[in-house]
Amino acid sequence: MTEVLRSAALFTPEIALTTGLLLVVLVDASGASWRNTVGRFLTVATLALALFLALRLLPAGSPGASIFSGMVVVDPLGLFFKVILLAASLLTVLLFTFRNSRELFGLGHGEFYALLLAVTLSNLLMAASNDIVMLYLSLEMVSITSYVMVAYMKGDRMSNEASLKYLLFGAVSTGAMLYGLSLLYGMTGTTSLPHIQEFLTGDLSTQGRKAVYLTTFLITAGFGFKVAAVPFHFWCPDVYQGAPTPVTAFLSVAPKAAGFAIMLRFFFGSMAQAGTGPWDLAGTIDWPQLLMVVSVLTMTVGNVAALTQTNMKRLLAYSSIAHAGYIMMGVVALSANGARGMMIYLAAYLFMNLGAFLVVTLVHLQDGTFDLRDYAGLYRRAPLLTVAMGIFLLSLVGIPPFVGFMGKLYVFAAIVERGPEYWWYAVAAAVNAAIAAFYYFRIMKTMAIDAGNENKPAFALAFADGAAVFLLAAANFLPIFFWSGIEGWARQSLTLYAGR
């Protein structure tokens, strides 16, 4: 009982989300005419409250604690991710509404908010899980609720088809992962990540080491699916194209961040051992090489496939695959700096990607098209949108002074400082960043230089949408001025609670 009470005190953001989720469902079931407005208000309030609770969950300098008999941990690293994940959900609700998305227009509001809160809750659990049971459960909870979100347009074939593909790919990858986890349990005799680490750092024969290494392949399938890494990326373009754009925007940032959080926990917290410094880890199993190959393939496939895309949603899907490759550099580095680079990258990615998807949604609202060719002449019709989209794209390319550059800077630095045997990897990533610049600049050229759409009217942008685009664009370069604060926050968050 005392354990439950102690745990509940450190579990307040999740409890707030659960309560909010149930309230949203109740309000929607009431059938009253005010249910949509109240549902939206409740969702925003719940997310804001959870964010507030998450920010003050641990006193500064606290190493964290494990709760619910070691199933879940509350530590500074997890809190950083919780803040990113809650911010992603909050921004999604605030930026995308049933008014400014043509695809969601006329569909039920309550279910959407309830599903969004459910995904958020499971994302938080995923970022904090400390046990392979919890890891698998939260990963599946994120997946299953996102399948439903993708199929949100019930009468639309594309949306349902996308969802079915997502589901089948998810079932195969997580099935393989579960099989791997069961073998890992068999070999180590425990489901707790810290205990697995203890076991692996102990006396282990070469054969045993090889067996664990092979099992990691199976487990990586699940992580790879969650963050859309090659060769588990096939669902990504189809799902991003078929899903309603607000859902696409949300899925491209939040579950991806949670996926990287759990990768960090799994690989750093159980597959590596503490080295000389507090966070310089030496691998017990040789997994960085495996992930390095996956990461290089991911960015290359994503960038090369994006070159020929004409549908904006598909293009951004491939671009998000490539970004997963860059972010993975932070995991491969296996150092405190790598983890920090990854966290900064994910926070920056939130603003640039949500911004790009918001512009895509607004163009679709006005013109009803996702085709890049219809973006021609956009600068005459909507100068604000064009400039903002330019900022988001430059940030995605990684050009200073935008936040995307800072993210890339930190992960590249973390790789380069690992030593000469990692340099080819950094070079491969830099070449990829150059390839990526081509298709991002192509979008800008289409918007600003190409002729077309001369006779179409200027954009009728609602004030709220204009303000949202403006603020997001500002969020892409203003953080540079507070950089020491952000960097300090990320540095302080580099504590992974390793106890049971």
Binding site: I132, V133, Y136, L137, E140, I144, Y147, V148, A151, K154, G155, R157, M158, N160, E161, A162, S163, L164, K165, L167, L168, A171, V172, G175, A176, L178, Y179, L181, S182, L183, Y185, G186, G189, T190, T191, F234, P237, D238, Q241, G242
Partner: protein, 101 residues
């Protein structure tokens, strides 16, 4: 005497059959049956390891959760397959091809 290796062989066979089913079947419902086989192969592993291994109940507990997840997953999957069936009158996965990957 049935020992741990027997269980592992059966579970590996189940896993492979499940994957084979997922990869070769065209009917969505059959594919979902393959998914069930994969999940249950892991369950078999977990319970066998728990019984013959360290003697803790972690694996059996895990298996119970996996059963719940499998039920939830199939419920959602069947709902989506049904909606798709209403929209195009076929459960065949090959014909779900508007989105080209």
């Amino acid at each position: 005497m049935i020992t741990l290796p027997h269980y592992l062989v059966v579970s590996a066979a189940l896993f492979s059959l499940g994957m084979l089913g997922i990869l070769t079947r065209r009917n969505a419902v059959n594919v979902l049956m393959g998914v069930e086989l994969v999940l249950n192969s892991a369950n078999l592993n977990l319970v066998a390891f728990s019984r013959f291994g360290p003697g803790n109940l972690g694996g059996q507990l895990f298996a119970v959760f996996v059963i719940v997840i499998a039920a939830a997953e199939v419920a959602v999957a069947l709902a989506i397959v049904l909606t798709l069936y209403r929209l195009r009158r076929t459960p065949n996965l090959d014909e779900a091809d508007i989105l080209k990957g």
